[in-house]
Symmetry: C2
Subunit: 405 residues, 2 copies
């Protein structure tokens, strides 16, 4: 009897949709929502809104407070507020030098950012202990308990099997690949834990809270430009990871030699041809060879300071670096036509002193306009993207449909 | 009163869904479907299937025939068949040398392929007349009328504004850009007419009926390798066109010079640096310079025949061409990680004599596996992709949800 089934299903579905609509209006609107304002925002009747609010209050997601004496006779107005503090998420950026832990409430408000240094030569299990104690300390600082975490998302360098929650390849952290970090975290935390490549989280962070957050397009490319060069890609609102989770490997494109030369040494040190050409270490070396201020391999900012001050050798090195990088970036832009690119990573801290010549050289290669922004999130991009992914996972516990990322 | 509304909506929605489910089962199954087999395929009751079949017959989409005397007592069994001939679509490939018109029924069965040569130096309006008479002849050959076309899809070289149905840039066909071809076709045909870049249709054709059609992945890259080099990209089942409809411009990546050389002359002839390096004309020139059989610019197959026969100069040229091409293809593969690539266009007719060295050189650049197929559709890839797009548009007239492409 399809009609009768439909009616029964329909009622249930409509009630759930009403609850979701009211919650969505509450989360998007200001904090002083009333039954009337919610009825008008959702198109639902006042009784339907009242019923949905009751259910949301029973689930701890909404707080109802009586307004001060109403000017109207009859029942006093009630204010409804989404209790963003009813749940929390953690975003964790695990790198070879540092672990960054971020705690946020269900509204995405960041409550705590905790940074722990990672000593050189740390083993996988030692690194896991740093993550564990960092998360414990961050949760305490945020004034919540570990059991208050609805979801945790982890970003790591290297190739990740998201389905199995495993790091397959992590050249920069010895002993980290193969460690069942996600299983260990899940067993400890009893909440959904996901893991992703760090640039895939960085592009999510940049799209959410970064330099390109106000743009209307649904596509964004994030290029990490440091010692390594990698790319996080969002197309049509979805992270593009590729058929083997290996998309965005800009660092391995080969522009280092002429068209008929053999390719450079393969995987000699796990560093790709484009990284060898224009990564942080290559820039440092170019500056040294040119007799320009070169800083050290961890911080090449003296080169860019000198270029900004007009020091000829430094200006020439920056020009050469920009031309090389633009040629590789052009390959990415010509293939994807993303409209917008955000550059992050250590080298990007040079800002417009470097990005302005990059933009100029890029115009010589590109066919259509593309805007190039410097990351404004800096070191926090990965952890913020992890918070965004964790919020998406946490939303599955809310009576709303989660977004796809 | 949400529940009552839901019941009313529910019945209507359920009836429409039942009709769609029965039609879908009919189109996917064999031609001897019965009420019983459809009930079992859809999970619907026999009365619901009978009601849906009646509606589909009234709309001309289904033919019901009484089966021969049933062995069971009671009403005789009926066979239901989807009337794929109740509508037709056309796919049109407009190139600078030829126009290809393909007519197919609603099951995607190709009834007619018509090829019309395009004289050199043709004007836009003259080309439009070739399309018009070609379509008229093809429809006649298929035994239908123009009014029987449910949708038409057109592929052209150059940059296309799909929303406005205009060709913005068509360097290879003078006078074609700016011609309101889609408006003229719509006014003439009174059915949906869409236009797209030819490589975007070629990749749709290859995914549907080509070398990679049996693969389970939802991503595919098609590289047109002829005088021009361009790429059609399907990711997660959707055509990736880019924010300015300029994605896939592999022909413009710059591998022609060393990393610190200035970029080559810009748009001197509308030919990109990678096309100048390894397009058909460049291969022809390389063969001539090496004293190998070179054919002519339109057909360089003598070079590949000589290489297959072991002629040293030809082998060396093919090796160099493969190495150059693989380096550019690697950039695409490293950025997209598509898993599968199909190579089409005139140069690809060389087959494995060329693609085997391309695969070998590609392995020296790529990080994860990628399979490289030669197109088996050849010249028909674009028109077949246009048929596929037209079928998607035609499905909007059927009681099913259309696919996104």
């Amino acid at each position: 009897m399809p009609p009768r089934q439909a009616a029964a299903t329909g009622t249930h579905v409509v009630r759930r949709m009403n609850v979701a609509a009211v919650l969505s209006a509450l989360r998007e609107g200001d904090s002083s929502a009333t039954v009337s304002s919610l009825a008008s925002a959702t198109g639902l009747s006042r009784p339907a809104v009242t019923r949905a609010l009751g259910e949301l209050r029973d689930r701890g997601l909404v707080e109802l407070t009586a307004a001060s004496a109403s000017s109207q006779p009859g029942r006093p107005a009630q204010y409804a507020r989404f209790r963003a503090e009813s749940g929390h998420v953690a975003g964790i950026d695990i790198g070879s030098h540092k672990v960054l832990v971020m705690i946020a409430d269900l509204a995405g408000k960041v409550l705590t950012v905790l940074r722990a240094a990672v000593p050189a030569g740390v083993t996988g299990p030692e690194l896991f202990e740093i993550v564990r104690s960092g998360l414990t300390a961050a949760v305490t600082e945020a004034g919540i308990r570990l059991s208050g975490l609805w979801a945790v998302s982890v970003g790591v360098p290297g190739v990740v099997d998201r389905d199995r929650g495993e790091v397959l390849l992590a050249p920069s952290i010895p002993g980290w690949a193969g460690l069942p970090a996600v299983s260990l975290l899940r067993a400890w935390l009893h909440c959904p834990v996901s893991i992703d490549n760090d640039v895939n989280l960085a592009v999510a962070g940049e799209r959410w809270r970064g330099a390109a957050a106000d743009a209307c397009s649904d596509s964004l490319v994030f290029v990490h430009w440091g010692r390594r060069i990698g790319t996080g890609i969002i197309l049509n609102g979805m992270t593009h990871r590729g058929s083997s989770a290996a998309a965005g490997e800009l660092g391995f494109i080969d522009l280092a030699s002429g068209p008929d030369d053999p390719p450079g040494p393969r995987h000699a040190d796990g560093i790709g041809p484009f990284e060898r050409l224009v990564g942080a270490a290559a820039i440092h070396r170019l500056a040294q060879e040119a007799g320009a201020p070169a800083g050290d391999e961890e911080d090449i900012s003296p080169l860019f300071d000198a270029a900004a001050a007009g020091e000829p050798a430094a200006v020439e090195v920056v020009e050469r670096v920009a031309a090389r990088f633009a040629r590789g970036l052009a390959a990415l832009v010509l293939i994807l036509d993303p409209g917008r690119v955000v550059i992050g990573g250590g080298v990007s801290r040079a800002g417009d002193a470097l990005l302005e010549p990059v933009r100029r050289h890029l115009r010589g290669h590109a066919l259509v306009p593309v805007t190039v922004h410097a990351s404004v999130l800096g070191e926090q991009a990965v952890a913020l993207g992890a918070v965004r992914h964790a919020l998406d996972a946490a939303e599955e516990r809310l009576p709303v449909s989660g977004r796809e990322t």
